[in-house]
Amino acid sequence: MPVLEDVGNVAEVTRSIGTGRFGAYGGRYVPETLMAALLELEQSYAEAQADPAFREELDGLLKHYVGRPTPLYYAKRLSEGLGGASIWLKREDLLHTGAHKINNALGQALLARRMGKQRIIAETGAGQHGVATATVCALFGLECVIYMGEEDMRRQELNVYRMRLLGADVRGVHSGSATLKDAINEAMRDWVTNVRTTFYILGSALGSHPYPTMVRDFHRVISIEAKRQFAEQVGRNPDVVVACVGGGSNAIGAFYEFLPDENVRLIGVEAGGRGGALGEHAARFQKGSGGGLPGVLQGTYSYVLQNDAGQVAATHSVSAGLDYASVGPEHAMLHDNGRAEYTSASDDEALNATKVLARTEGILPALESAHAVAHAMKLAPTLGKEKNIMVNLSGRGDKDMGIISRELELGGAPAENRGTR
């Protein structure tokens, strides 16, 4: 298949944070106007990383404000019900604001403050990254503009209110399919226009170098903790790590420290939506027709759902956070070199997993995270009882109650409920 060939010959810019390449993938494919900002960001990030005071402040806030470390919890009733491997949940859903996204939003906000940028922009799909960004902007007194597809505003309405309450200016995007991809386009247009004053807090391990590396670094804490917790609570590494993959930030954070441990299987779960045809899902790594092909979208070279003319395809998922046509470039590399496996769970499987987890463990997962749970539920019975599966429970499901109550027919509430004041 045609790819962006000869990338090996590409001249290396001075790249202080890795190379920006993950095998053939990654790189920097942006309008020239953004280059100065990307180079400045890369340099500032390198300096921040080398500065113990930066790490110390971040760690302090992660502990006292965000609520790290998150528990590693043995889901006993779920595991026993399935009758196979033990399922352990890495509880990112317990973090302040309700998802892993704040690990990264906080790190980037500290960096923005260090760089003297007063205006923050971000895109959001499920609204979790938007809420996390609005939260850290409130914490540091920064101006905050969030771009969100109008379709996502409808299905993640509660998060729109949360962002507004936190003081963010939420701007609806109606172009394209009015979902995450379109929100990123609009955020990039804002950034190109206001690049001299604005810091773009990108919400997943996507986009141009240095974002995929930087975002991954801020989420590494997930697998650093999990590895230690497995050693303490189980006495050895998990056999399998499962995480959902939208842009890929929670998954790369959950995988990263296990990458050198070849006997730990790493499984990324994409959105299978309602079928395998192009437009019906967001499974970039799906094999054969309807799956993704290498391409360039929004600054990086990775797998992209597209037609044979190179137009980016529409996507569908019940979960706004997985509903995206491309995927972080490091996952593209891990896919091609076989270190990680990628599979998908359908809308129905995710909804079913939501219900099962709620009723066996009293835990309500985000619909994104429910895709990972759904795959673990398929996998556990096929493995022996001595095996351990870690599921990265990336977020909690409160934001999805509208969709879940409709889809699972949970019944109506009194029609008029204005509350009291």
């Binding site: 920097r28 942006v30 247009r189 070279y301």
Partner: protein, 302 residues
């Protein structure tokens, strides 16, 4: 070497290919050329035009909706080349449709279809070594963007690697019209001039004769995009070519003879303005010996 701005300021006209239809773009292109455009930028419509403002976004969306693809734009280029051998043609695309075709295959096809140059919106010089190589092998001119935010070290590499002209972005931002040409533009052109004698064309927000005249004070050419795409959008169906022809004619002062090159809009007419002599020139002298520097020289860009 049809990319040639022999009359200053040169005029570059951007069109989103396939809006409102491929046939209409052909007629519009000829009208633009016959009324004084030196170079046409044929925009390949893309689903995610993140460097573009609302006007070109809408045009792109309409053309993508009609199923217009890179191969159609190549075919359009071939037809325009046949009809107007002296005009400059630059294919203007986001990277993904080109990647889908294959860089090498695309460069070969672009040459075969009569293009002179290519501008890829989201291709920067550091990532462009293979692209530049394929372009050169096919005798095509890579045009790179230079931005007001680009530091001098980058401008140098951009100037070295661009052929035909350097596209100087007049202001920080996305495409779209504006009231005046910002002072960013003049400063950027001055900074570029430290490194190159190649033609410099200024684009983004150029929308009328005053802007063109202002740009003419300090640059070689003006690029008009959104203003024309918007005019096409507002025109009565079937009247687009006439409207664009008239608009382009009005962009240069009347006394400039090349500004009133009248020509037929009929697709099968022979090139009506080869007799002006302007387009037979060999262009700027530097283009004769392309810089040896390729993207591989980029490491000094920090």
């Amino acid at each position: 070497m049809p990319i040639n701005f022999s009359t200053k300021p040169g005029i570059v006209v951007y069109l989103t290919a396939g809006d409102p239809s491929l046939e209409a773009t052909y007629d519009i292109a000829l009208a633009a050329i016959d009324n004084g455009a030196d170079v046409l930028e044929l925009g390949v419509p893309f689903s995610d035009p993140l460097a573009d403002g609302p006007v070109i976004q809408r045009a792109s969306e309409r053309a993508v909706g009609r199923g217009v693809r890179l191969s159609d734009v190549l075919e359009l280029s071939r037809k325009i080349r046949e009809a107007r051998p002296g005009a400059g043609i630059v294919l203007f695309s986001y990277l993904n449709p080109v990647v889908r075709t294959g860089l090498k295959e695309f460069c070969k096809a672009a040459k075969e279809h009569g293009a002179d140059g290519v501008l890829l919106t989201d291709m920067i010089v550091e990532e462009g070594a293979a692209y530049i190589q394929h372009m050169r092998e096919n005798g095509l001119q890579p045009v790179f963007l230079a931005a007001p935010t680009s530091p001098d070290a980058r401008l140098k590499v951009i100037a070295e690697n661009s052929e035909g002209f350097i596209y100087a972005i007049s202001r920080v931002g996305i495409t779209g019209t504006q009231d005046s040409v910002e002072s960013d533009a003049e400063q950027l052109v001055r900074r570029l001039r430290q490194f190159t004698q190649k033609p410099i064309a200024v684009g983004f927000g150029i929308s009328n004769a005053q802007h063109v005249a202002a740009v003419g004070q300090f640059a070689d050419a003006a690029i008009i995009g959104s203003a024309i795409v918007s005019l096409i959008e507002k025109s009565e169906p079937g009247m687009e070519a006439e409207a664009v022809g008239e608009f382009v004619r009005g962009l240069r002062p009347k006394q400039d003879s090349s500004g009133v090159r009248e020509g037929s809009h009929e697709p099968h007419e022979a090139n009506p303005h080869s007799s002006t002599g302007n387009l037979k020139g060999h262009g700027f002298s530097r283009a004769e010996k392309p810089s040896q520097t390729t993207g591989a020289s980029a490491p000094e860009v920090a």
